[in-house]
């Protein structure tokens, strides 16, 4: 008999469930990739997009909706972790890595969506380096978001995981080299711990405003467009942030619930307090989102005749009404569930998940309504209203994006514990038959 340390949380073990999950994700991803290759060959003609104006289309379609959505989702994770660090909220510690992972993956997918939407993607990367104009909003997407937020969340993830990596590096496994690399000489000495704590604290302080500024540029992409009724305005940036928070938290809740389920034995690591916190925050964000929506609705109802009116009509009773009203219904429904739970001081995981899914879906709808109608119904010259509906190619590519995100998280879970191990080392040691 020999006491041996094994990798925790199923890291390095391939369960049938996991294999099925990965296989399904791979299939969806491959379909998405094939759809994209088809698009790259044929041109964006295979999407539902068309030029605005005489062609009565939307030149930005589902891809840009997803860019907005994914980048929005990414916001919550990193801010939440920073928040937890600064205020030292222990309850949230368990999901800090999960949150950072969500941020990183959704950012990567979001940025990929930016490239997928370009007419000439490779030239896009090269010319962005050669000729970039900092005054353009696209610069914000590429530099602040792509480089800034993505790098900081990666760095955050890295620093945050070093302690665990150092621990794992002691365990004899096929992944040892990787854990060693991550740990990079971290020895978990007192001094190191202190330095680590301080770094994390200051990083957290700095990261919040930076991320908010960076992601606000995403809202500004729309807000500074004088030519688009419905876009031009100061509310675009805060609107973006609030919705980002709501969707991010909602997704984090669902993801946390899934992880909790998957980890079975380790599920106790994620206690009810986590969900209480998340539920409470989601409630706050959703309430703000609903408030903004209602302000918007009232403005629309009183829209003066002209371009804004046309747009309002399209949203309230026109071709987009079904999206608008179901979106509004979903978010109000989600909010109601959250409020009743909060009032009763009793959080049921099932109801929380339902609320989260409802809210997250409503944010997709909201993003859709931000991007599309201003193009089809927001012309300042009296062009006839247009229409846009995504094609199967766009749906397949978007499904591929989700699959890619899921795949990244799934793979991560097999190479690194998704829940921080801090202070639980001893319990990880189990007896194994020689």
């Amino acid at each position: 008999m020999k006491v041996e340390k094994s990798l925790p949380q199923g890291v390095g073990k391939f369960t049938p469930g996991w294999i099925v999950f990965i296989a399904v994700a791979m299939v969806v991803l491959i379909i998405g990739v094939l759809a994209y290759l088809y698009e790259a060959n044929m041109g964006l003609i295979v999407t539902g997009m068309a030029n605005i104006g005489t062609q009565g289309g939307a030149t930005w379609g589902l891809y840009v909706v997803m860019v907005e959505y994914f980048i929005g989702v990414s916001l919550a994770g990193i801010v939440l972790v920073a928040f937890a660090h600064v205020f030292d909220i222990k309850a949230l510690r368990a999901i800090s890595r999960l949150a950072l992972l969500l941020t990183t993956c959704s950012l990567m997918v979001g940025l990929l969506a930016v490239l997928i939407d370009l007419g000439t993607p490779i030239r896009g990367i090269i010319n962005m380096i050669l000729y970039v104009r900092p005054q353009s909003p696209f610069f914000g997407t590429f530099t602040l978001v792509a480089v800034g937020v993505l790098l900081s969340s990666l760095m955050y993830l890295y620093l945050d995981g070093r302690r665990d990596a150092a621990y794992l590096a002691d365990i004899d496994s096929g992944l040892r080299w990787y854990h060693r690399l991550w740990a990079a000489g971290y020895g978990d000495t007192q001094a190191e711990q202190e330095r680590h704590r301080r770094t994390m604290f200051w990083l957290s302080i700095l990261i919040v405003p930076f991320v908010i500024v960076a992601l606000s540029t995403e809202g500004l992409v729309f807000g500074i467009q004088v030519g688009r009724p419905g876009w031009f305005g100061a509310l675009q940036a805060p609107d973006f942030i609030i919705l980002a928070a709501a969707s991010g938290l909602a997704n984090l809740i669902v993801l946390t619930a899934i992880v909790r389920r998957v980890l079975k034995d380790d599920s106790t690591l994620i206690g009810p307090a986590v969900f209480k916190w998340l539920g409470g925050l989601l409630l706050a964000a959703t309430a703000a989102a609903v408030y903004l929506q209602i302000v918007e609705l009232v403005t629309m109802l009183y829209a003066t005749p002209g371009n804004e009116r046309l747009l309002a009509d399209a949203l309230l009773r026109g071709p987009y009404a079904w999206i608008f009203w179901s979106g509004l219904f979903l978010v109000v429904f989600g909010l109601t569930l959250l409020v009743t739970q909060a009032a009763r001081r009793q959080w049921s995981l099932g109801v929380l998940i339902i609320a989260s899914v409802a809210i997250s879906t409503s944010v997709v709808a909201e993003r859709y309504l931000t991007v599309i109608p201003s193009q089809t119904h927001g012309m300042m010259l009296p062009y006839e209203p247009g229409s846009y509906f995504p094609t199967w190619v766009e749906f397949a590519v978007v499904a591929g994006m989700f699959a890619l995100g899921a795949l990244l998280i799934g793979l991560f879970m097999k190479v690194f514990p998704i829940i921080p191990l801090d202070g639980k080392r001893a319990e990880q040691e189990v007896l194994v038959d020689a």
């Binding site: 044929m42 041109g43 964006l44 003609i45 999407t47 997009m49 068309a50 030029n51 605005i52 104006g53 005489t54 062609q55 009565g56 289309g57 030149t59 930005w60 939407d117 370009l118 007419g119 000439t120 993607p121 030239r123 896009g124 010319n127 962005m128 050669l130 000729y131 970039v132 104009r133 005054q135 353009s136 909003p137 696209f138 610069f139 590429f142 500074i224 467009q225 004088v226 030519g227 688009r228 005749p305 002209g306 371009n307 009116r309 046309l310 193009q375 012309m379 300042m380 010259l381 009296p382 062009y383 006839e384």
Partner: protein, 247 residues
Amino acid sequence: MTRYAMAVDLDLCQGCRGCMVACKVENNTVEGNFWMYVFRFEAGTYPDTKITFLPRPCQHCDNAPCVKVCPVGARFKREDGLVLTDADRCIGCRYCELACPYGVNYFNWQKPEKAQYAIVDWRDESIESVTGGLIPPYKNPDLDELWGDEQRRTAGGGHAKGVMEKCTFCVHRVEKGLEPACVDSCPTNALVFGDLDDPDTPMSRYLRENRTWQLLEEAGTRPRVYYVGGTPPTRHQTEIERPKATV
């Protein structure tokens, strides 16, 4: 210095859309792309109705939102006022299209050869024997050249998949001392083009002698296209006789 501008006289315009076709043939634009577009509007109820026409090229704005948003400087304004797209630099992000309040930008959703009136089989052997396989058979060689001091690919030849295009004020003609194709062709001379800084051009005279207005003045874009006669379009007008405009 040269400052190019265009005037559109709505008292003369017959709404014939000849300018649209002139532009298409000159610039070999693909099906569904109208660098020049002529609105036909109707307003009022029977029998008190009004029919009006409104040609709409790119406004070559002095304060061009499309230029501001271009991430790579593919959309730029020349010193003489032409707002052009460098087809070799454009990354196809379509920001300019969204930024433009006039709806004048056209993205190439597919290979232009495929979008060139595909109802016709331009690959027909007996046509290729005459045209050497060019699509369209009336392909204008000027469009492949580099133009201006910048020597950039700015004429219609930029037609390439994934790249943005729009009215160029016929840069390749203007550089040769010719009028833009639409202006040259207008049966009632409703379109005028020329140098604003030279007081003797018909263009300058036109502006001196007529009261002008600009499209969407409120957008602050400061267009280089001046309208004479008629009235600015409003939402009370309904567009009639829309062309088939598919991508």
